[in-house]
């Protein structure tokens, strides 16, 4: 017997250390931000003890509160609209008979994922100004709905594909008409995916910066746009605190989407 480890192709020497390093690269900067957010010193980099005071300052800042309110309102509207549109679209793509135009429809729905954000931002700006539409919040709701559609659609479409058509065939075979088939079979089976899609859409809308910056007007500043303005003025503990809050919200929602999306095995 030698001390050598038996050969295992799944275990490449050094690879786990390398991967660990990459994950440090992913998460260490975020961790640093969070730590700084709890630093009581105004000089961000000098640690002067643990404190919640910057979070309190952020909570008492009326401009931040207004921006956050705008962000949430826009995200709620965009989530509802895009999820409804995406659910219908996913059903059509996966269950419908699209004799022609399937690839065109797929390409069109993928557009918001393909076109660079800056292009979407300025073309949307051009479009609304060309139409003479200057309703800050409503413009933002529309713009957000558009780019949230593919994010809401993906999990719903994936679920429909995984399900296959057999369960719905069984429902039809057992005398269900189209409406009752949808209500009793398709919708309940799809609900976890719809919720996951909705949460994703919400997070994407809440996080959007570039499009919101170009489309928003004085009264309709969203939270990321406001934070960007603060960042331009310099590194401050308030920026760290509000960034940490936004970070936590994103992580909580994505984790929720994952848990909800996975709850479809009915064990």
């Amino acid at each position: 017997m030698t001390g050598a480890k038996p050969f295992d192709w799944r275990h490449t020497p050094g690879l786990s250390a390398y991967t660990a390093l990459i994950f440090v690269f992913f998460y260490a900067p975020l961790l640093i931000l969070v730590i700084y957010a709890f630093n009581s010193s105004r000089l961000v980099t000098v640690w002067a003890g643990f404190s919640f005071k910057w979070f309190v300052a952020v909570a008492n800042n009326n401009s931040i509160r207004d921006a956050a309110f705008n962000s949430v309102i826009i995200a709620i509207v965009a989530t509802i609209a895009s999820t409804a549109i995406a659910t219908a679209g996913a059903l059509a793509l996966e269950r419908g008979r699209l004799r022609f135009g399937r690839s065109a429809a797929t390409a069109l729905i993928a557009m918001p994922l393909v076109v660079p954000e800056i292009v979407v931002a300025i073309t949307t700006l051009i479009f609304f100004s060309g139409l003479g539409m200057h309703h800050g919040l409503i413009n933002l709701m529309i713009a957000h709905t558009v780019f949230c559609i593919p994010f809401a659609l993906l999990p719903i479409q994936a679920r429909l594909r995984d399900m296959g058509g057999t369960l719905e065939e069984a429902g039809r075979d057992l005398y269900a008409d189209e409406w009752r088939l949808f209500r009793r079979v398709t919708l309940p089976l799809l609900l976890p995916a719809i919720s996951a899609g909705a949460i994703m859409a919400f997070v994407v809308s809440l996080d959007d910066f570039l499009i919101s910056m170009m489309v928003s007007s004085a009264g309709s500043t969203t939270l990321p746009v406001y934070i960007y303005g603060m960042m331009r003025l310099g590194v401050t503990p308030e920026v760290n605190a509000i960034s940490t809050i936004l970070l936590a919200v994103s992580i909580v929602f994505v984790a929720a989407a994952l848990l909800v999306g996975r709850r479809n095995r009915f064990a």
Binding site: L33, T123, S250, F253
Partner: protein, 289 residues
């Protein structure tokens, strides 16, 4: 589901995206052929001026003078986007392979960890690097504390910091598609190759990499396209001094008030990106045959 109902269900998605996304793209093309209005927006007459601006500037006599500064910004943007793609590929491929080799339970956790940054605000993720790289930041502080340097190193506001920000932002886009192609490899292929005397390196070169290529190609497009038009990394980490297309476009609609030029730039970016995607989907189709 009959065709009528199908089209009824798909119609909202197509209309909303068609009207509020595709139509504006065409409108921008139209704007790029107009004359700038100094108060924002455009006016008549139609001209090619916006495109001429890529290479020429108007002097005081309205004559055209060769001036490549914008063309250089475009080239630099393309160069940085390609560099970002290459670095992401080199960094991401081993990570994808590592995840594929894990047990299903661990795979799920690692995948979640790779996906999560994608859902976190890019603004915040980019800002974190300011905290680290600025003169009073963590890196310089640590180096000074260790006595290695006395004056802070200029870590921020250069091509390197922009590149770092881009790689940091887009690395997950490379890992995920490579992972999903590698995941479909039958492990017996690897075992068969080892059985036929292949070393680890040979297995990687002859089996893993050829099979991972479609995923790498997908990842490359997913990294290149947004990197080319990126705004935040060059703006926050480049300090706005080193312009890239993204910030140049944004400027035309804010401080510079030259909408036609901004529209022309964004048209060029869109054409480049769509071409890359079309080539990629052609290639993917060929490989599937």
């Amino acid at each position: 589901m009959g065709p009528n109902r199908t089209y009824l269900l798909i119609a909202p998605a197509m209309l909303v995206i068609g009207i509020f996304m595709v139509l504006p793209l065409f409108l921008a093309v139209a704007y790029s052929f107009m004359t700038a209005n100094p108060y924002g927006g455009v006016t008549a007459p139609a001209t090619f001026d916006a495109y001429l601006q890529f290479l020429y500037q108007r002097d005081f006599d309205d004559g055209l003078v060769f001036s490549p500064s914008y063309a250089l910004i475009i080239l630099r943007s393309i160069y940085l986007a390609i560099a970002t793609t290459a670095i992401c590929l080199v960094l991401g491929l081993p990570v994808a392979w590592y995840i594929v080799c894990q047990t299903p339970e661990r795979r799920r956790i690692l995948l979640f960890a790779v996906t999560l940054p994608f859902w976190i605000n890019t603004l915040i993720r980019t800002y974190c690097w300011i905290l680290i790289l600025r003169d009073e930041g963590l890196a310089n502080g640590a180096l000074r504390h260790a006595g290695i340097i006395s004056d802070p190193l200029p870590l921020l506001y250069n091509d390197g910091s922009i590149l770092l920000g881009l790689v940091y932002t887009f690395l997950p886009f490379m890992v995920l598609p490579i992972y999903s192609t590698l995941e479909r490899i039958d492990p017996r292929l690897i075992e068969a190759a080892h059985d036929l005397y292949a070393s680890r390196a040979a297995v990687f070169r002859r089996i893993v990499w050829p099979l991972a290529r479609p995923g790498a190609l997908a990842g490359a497009t997913l990294v290149f396209a947004p990197a080319l038009g990126s705004f935040l990394a060059p703006d926050l980490l480049g300090g706005g001094k080193k312009l890239l297309i993204g910030s140049l476009i944004q400027m035309q609609f804010t401080s510079s008030r030259n909408w036609p030029f901004g529209a022309a730039l964004s048209t060029v970016v869109t054409v480049v990106v769509l071409t890359v995607f079309v080539i990629r989907s052609r290639k993917a189709q060929e490989e599937r045959r």
